[in-house]
């Protein structure tokens, strides 16, 4: 019974995140002139990244998923905040490097490449920071085999994996000679990552529900 509550809570949290992506796609059209996903792609990208970030932080803060802090002093909180920002930045740089290694041009369109890295970090690292805090040991535990200790850990595994695989698959249409607007770098990859993320959001509760018999989490 406790299962159902947790899964329902997660499903609604995921629904809120997903709808924020939807809103980020629709709303800017009101404020920005000539807004389109392809035409003003960077605006869309940062809208999505921003809204996902804000909604994630709010939802997880409200739900109280974040690990309980041991000390409650201000300086400790500030330290955590600082470390989280640092990790986020590092993960952006890491994604940027990986994308360049995959063949993105080094100098030209560096901004676009970095924006893709920011989006990917938002979809993956930020959620980790929200759920697990800036605690690398916990991250390693979650992402090693059979390391998940709660439904949220499993959901994190699924959404992160889906986002990265989505971006990976998104690179495939680039060499095709169709001359479509969405083949321009990095649109297909960002779209792939976002689609992958949405799929992950949808798939996580379904998958957990489906496998609830097999899943046995160790107690914290």
């Amino acid at each position: 019974m406790m299962w159902d509550v947790e899964i329902r809570g997660m499903a609604s949290a995921h629904a809120i995140v997903a709808s924020s992506i939807f809103m980020a796609t629709v709303m800017p059209a009101v404020f920005v002139e000539n807004f389109s996903v392809y035409g003003s792609h960077m605006v869309w990208l940062y809208c999505v990244a921003g809204s996902v970030a804000v909604v994630n932080i709010t939802v997880f803060w409200l739900l109280g998923i974040s690990p309980p802090t041991k000390k409650n002093t201000l300086s400790y909180k500030l330290n955590r905040l600082f470390r989280s920002c640092l990790y986020f930045l590092l993960s952006c740089l890491f994604f940027h490097t990986v994308v360049v290694l995959y063949g993105a041009p080094l100098l030209e369109s560096a901004l676009e490449t970095f924006s893709l890295a920011v989006l990917l970090s938002t979809l993956t690292t930020l959620r980790c920071l929200c759920v697990l805090g800036p605690n690398v040991q916990a991250w390693i535990r979650v992402f090693s085999r059979d390391g998940a200790m709660s439904v949220w850990d499993t959901s994190l595994q699924i959404t992160t994996g889906c986002s990265v695989i989505g971006a990976w698959l998104g690179a495939f249409p680039i060499p095709l000679d169709w001359d479509r607007p969405w083949q321009v770098w990095p649109i297909s990859c960002t779209l792939g990552a976002t689609t992958g993320f949405l799929t992950g959001l949808l798939a996580a509760p379904v998958w957990i529900h489906w496998h609830r018999k097999q899943l046995t989490y160790k107690l914290k």
Partner: protein, 970 residues
């Protein structure tokens, strides 16, 4: 019949090669040819309608021109004359095009845009098949009906200077000739001076009718430095001066009462943005065609040149000179050239051209009655008749004129329709041979796939139930059925068929083999059935790691991607992408191994976020070879995939290949551009030193010395050819062919190979197993280093870093990854194959014929010798896959203690990895044979696939040889 895995793989690959060869024979169509082998004669001309049956009725039309000078500039692309380059560098030609009495067109060359097929197209008017590319290197005499033969037999005197392909195509046709060989691509001044030096004398003389000049310099410049090089401008100016000179001389000879002269300026093919040719991109197929003659109306201004087919020049020239159009010509004449003639003459010429095309259509197409063009031509001929009736009656009204114009239009439409119908005929395939080849390859592939559990088992022995199937009844029934089908197909009316023309014994053995395969397949399936039914849980306990999943998805995904023409053109992207993912997956595996307690993730993205203070906890350390502490080994292992990734990223920007992004500036061109020679020299020297350091490790002392001297020889060869500098040599030396230096290196290559083979043979007769094993792996390594040295000699100077990186990656991966992470032989083989594929593209190859560097065939040779040239070209083109395969062999045989049947598994995986894409591609090409890009994209790739399979067969042979040696020893 029990076979070891390696022998089984080898036999399968051999069968596949034969069947792919059969498929290729059926796939590349024989060009449209009229069934009569004789040539067009003047008496073949149709009678002009309504002129009675007098002796003059079918006479040849009067020639329009007295003399013709054809200036053919190799790789002259359209914008060199009509574009901004033309305005800057060819002012005189531009002036004539814009203001003079001239006609200019854009002539579309058909792929393959290679010189010899283009020359054949220009002279015969037919469109040579793709297979002509392969024959391009040795061109035997052209026996087909052609313009040059027609001109000669009409008594015209022809002079030729330029590319000696012409001389070989038309032996004894020229009154005077001087051929220059086109293979020394680095020379772009001498080849043209050889042509121009004859010009003054020849232009003064009066004893010739046709002068053909074929200039090669521009093409060579394109190959060296591309269409935007600084060398292009001066070369175009030189060409412009030549045009000016010829035109001035022709004008000065013009006199009243004689026929006017004609100057033709054309290109055989264009030049792609990288400077090569062979494919079908716009800049490669668009060539300029400028006809200059006082017979034309003077132009008022420059208007956009019209577009026509290159083969249209042939009938135009033939009729302009009053010659019969050659039999197999599929072009139609250019109406603008004849617009100054009277209407009657124009109609007559169109009628002759139409008659020739309709004859060819009748010959080559059994259903010619249904062709629109044929019907239109009949109608046009009829109205021509009635027009002539009125004309002969002396009617000269406006009505007659309008009616004549109408007939003219009808004729032109009919010609165009017939011409395109004939061009379409080229897509006729020999389906019987193709399907037989396809069935064969499919059978082999299924055989390979079905044998997988046995071939990859511990024993590595495959039991092929051949003997039992040979005695079974279905086998004889299948044989009977096959023979009946063969007889039926060959007797029924059809196109030309290769299999039907084969001797009966050969065909029967093919049928026998195919039936035996089918029976063996069926009995193998039957054998598998019960086991798969009994153990459905087998899949669950046979778990796949992430790496296995990646390798599987990569192989299948790449195979499927071949269905798209863009993915074929950009295949390098697929491989780079897969290789990167592979490296990241390996990185993850390494992390997992070395951080056992705190294993980290399914996700690659968590890599660098590892804490630097991770506790030392690996429980297992293999023997440390290089005398490192366990801690440093861990970090080196972690660094290896990252180093590989960095190397791959750097190599990727060394050579831009493919189609879409090929025009982007790459590092290789920057190095080669001449201004950065010092840097290139430094890079080459560093690479050579690195190659020496990496290869010498496992060699004997003699081979080490030979290797060092050989690599020195490579550098001095590059210096002699003029690619790199010696530090002490400041003034640029005269450039030579470097034959001596190259032969010096060849001696050492042979020496090292000999030492290696000797060690291998000695290991056979050794008594102690340990010594023999050591000697054998040293021998193998020496063979490998011989190949490396040869490749170092053949690679262009800017590609030497590719070779060095290849060796570096091989060394570190073998040392820290493959040995330590306990990948099994199959996984290691797949990884080697992927690396080999990626390096094929890193060295600048693509799936386009144009990127094959034929100049390699001349390293150390004074002149063109067919066998070594082909061998060297193939070796240098497939150097990447070959080196990785050799490394795999060395690696697997040195790992004998761990993977007992490593070699057998390796060679089986190699055969399977090659067969899957090759067979899929053969089936695919059969399905896509009417695709728009079949000739430009799919067929070059088919040739590459076939060649790659051949190379793999050779590698497998070597594998089998080594494996047999081992199994012979207890």
């Amino acid at each position: 019949m029990k076979l070891s895995s390696s022998v089984f793989a080898l036999l399968c690959l051999m069968c596949e090669i034969v069947s792919i060869a059969l498929f290729l024979r059926g796939f590349f169509p024989v060009p449209v040819k009229s069934s009569f082998s004789d040539k067009s004669k003047v008496t073949d001309f149709p009678a002009e309608p309504q002129t009675g049956s007098g002796p003059n009725s079918s006479k040849a039309p009067v020639p329009l021109f007295k003399r013709v000078v054809i200036v053919l500039i190799d790789a002259l692309r359209e914008d060199f004359v009509f574009g901004s380059d033309g305005r800057r560098f060819m002012p005189y030609t531009r002036h004539v095009v814009e203001r003079g009495s001239s006609h200019s067109f854009i002539a579309k060359a058909r792929p393959p845009t290679v010189t010899m097929p283009r020359i054949k197209a220009l002279t015969t008017g037919s469109i040579p098949g793709f297979i002509d590319v392969v024959m391009n290197l040795n061109s035997p005499a052209l026996l087909e009906d052609n313009l040059i033969w027609q001109a000669k037999s009409a008594g015209k005197r022809i002079i030729f200077y330029g590319d000696d392909t012409w001389v070989r195509l038309f032996p004894k046709h020229f009154m005077e000739h001087d051929g220059t060989t086109s293979f020394f691509v680095s020379d772009y001044t001498e080849v043209d001076n050889n042509v121009t030096r004859h010009l003054d004398g020849t232009l003064k003389r009066d004893d010739w009718d046709i002068l053909i000049l074929h200039y090669l310099g521009l093409d060579h410049i394109g190959h060296i430095s591309g269409p935007h090089s600084s060398l292009i401008g001066p070369k175009l100016m030189e060409m412009d001066d030549i045009i000016k000179k010829i035109h001035a001389s022709l004008v000065s000879k013009e006199s009243e009462g004689t026929l006017p002269n004609l100057l033709v300026l054309c290109g055989d093919h264009g030049m792609s943005e990288t400077g090569s040719h062979g494919g079908s991109s716009e800049p490669e197929i668009n060539t300029p065609l400028v006809l200059i003659s006082p017979a034309f109306r003077r132009k008022a201004g420059f208007d956009e040149p019209g577009v026509l087919e290159q083969v249209d020049l042939t009938p135009t020239l033939a009729l302009g000179l009053g010659l019969p159009i050659s039999k197999n010509s599929v072009g139609h004449l250019i109406p603008a050239v004849f617009e100054e003639l009277s209407l009657r003459e124009q109609l007559r010429l169109l009628q002759i051209n139409g008659h020739q095309l309709s004859r060819l259509l009748q010959d080559s197409n059994p259903t010619f009655h249904k062709e629109d063009g044929y019907e239109q031509f009949r109608v046009a001929e009829k109205s021509h008749g009635s027009w002539m009736q009125l004309y002969v009656d002396g009617n000269t009204s406006e009505v007659l004129n309008n009616m004549g114009k109408k007939v003219l239009k009808q004729y032109l439409e009919a010609l165009k329709a017939m011409s395109s119908a004939l061009s379409k005929q080229l897509g006729k395939y020999d389906m019987y041979s193709m399907i037989m080849g396809m069935i064969f390859t499919l059978q082999v592939l299924f055989l390979l796939l079905l044998a997988m559990p046995e071939a990859l088992s511990r024993e590595a022995v495959v039991d092929v139930p051949l003997a039992s199937s040979l005695l079974s009844l279905p086998f004889y029934l299948l044989c009977l059925f096959g023979s009946a089908l063969h007889v039926l197909l060959c007797t029924s009316a059809g196109g030309p068929c290769y299999l039907c023309s084969l001797p009966w014994v050969l065909v029967f053995s093919v049928i026998l083999l195919s039936s035996a395969f089918t029976c063996a397949l069926v009995s193998m399936v039957a054998r598998r059935m019960p086991t798969s039914n009994k153990t459905p849980t087998k899949g669950s306990d046979w778990t796949l790691s992430e790496l296995d999943v990646l390798l599987l998805i990569g192989t299948v995904g790449h195979t499927l991607s071949l269905a798209s023409s863009s993915f074929i053109e950009e295949e390098h992207q697929t491989w780079y992408f897969l290789l990167n993912t592979l490296c990241l997956a390996i990185f993850q595996d390494v992390c997992r191994k070395y951080f056992k307690e705190q294993r980290h993730g399914d996700e690659e993205d968590k890599g660098p976020l590892l804490p630097s203070g991770a506790e030392e906890g690996p429980s297992f350390f293999p023997a440390v070879e290089l005398g490192m502490s366990p801690g440093s080994e861990k970090w080196l292992a972690l660094a290896t995939p990252l180093l590989t990734l960095t190397c791959c990223r750097l190599l990727r920007s060394l050579n831009q290949t493919g189609v879409q992004w090929a025009h982007l500036p790459d590092f290789g061109h920057w190095l080669f551009s001449g201004d950065h020679k010092a840097f290139l020299s430094l890079l080459a020297a560093v690479s050579l030193v690195l190659i020496f350091l990496l290869v010498q490790r496992h060699c004997s002392l003699v081979s080490k010395i030979a290797l060092a001297l050989g690599l020195l020889g490579v550098y001095s060869y590059r210096a002699a050819v003029g690619n790199v500098l010696f530090p002490w040599q400041h003034s640029s030396r005269a450039v030579s062919k470097g034959t001596v230096e190259a032969r010096f290196v060849y001696v050492f290559v042979l020496g090292i190979l000999f030492t290696g083979v000797k060690d291998l043979l000695r290991s056979q007769v050794m008594s102690s197993a340990g010594d023999s094993g050591r000697l054998k792996s040293r021998g193998l390594w020496e063979v490998y280093s011989g190949v490396v040295l040869l490749v170092a000699l053949l690679f262009r100077a800017h590609n030497l870093p590719t070779l060095a990186c290849c060796l570096l990656i091989q060394t570190v991966m073998a040392q820290f990854i493959w040995k330590k992470l306990h990948y099994d032989a199959a996984q290691t083989t797949i990884m080697h194959y992927w690396f080999g594929q990626a390096f094929f593209y890193f060295q600048g190859n693509s799936n386009n014929i144009g990127t094959v560097d034929i100049s390699v065939g001349f390293v150390g040779l004074e002149s063109y010798v067919e066998a070594p040239a082909i061998f060297l070209t193939a070796l240098s083109t497939y150097a990447g896959p070959l080196l990785w395969a050799c490394h795999l062999l060395c690696f697997l045989s040195s790992q004998r203690d761990r993977a007992v049947m490593g070699l057998g598994h390796g060679s089986y995986c190699f055969a399977l990895l090659r067969s899957i894409p090759a067979v899929f591609y053969v089936v695919l090409v059969t399905g896509l044979r009417y695709h728009l890009f079949i000739w430009s994209v799919f067929s070059p790739k088919l040739l590459y696939e076939a060649m790659h399979t051949l190379i793999n067969t050779a590698v497998c042979l070597f594998f089998t040889f080594m494996d047999q040696e081992r199994s012979a020893r207890p």
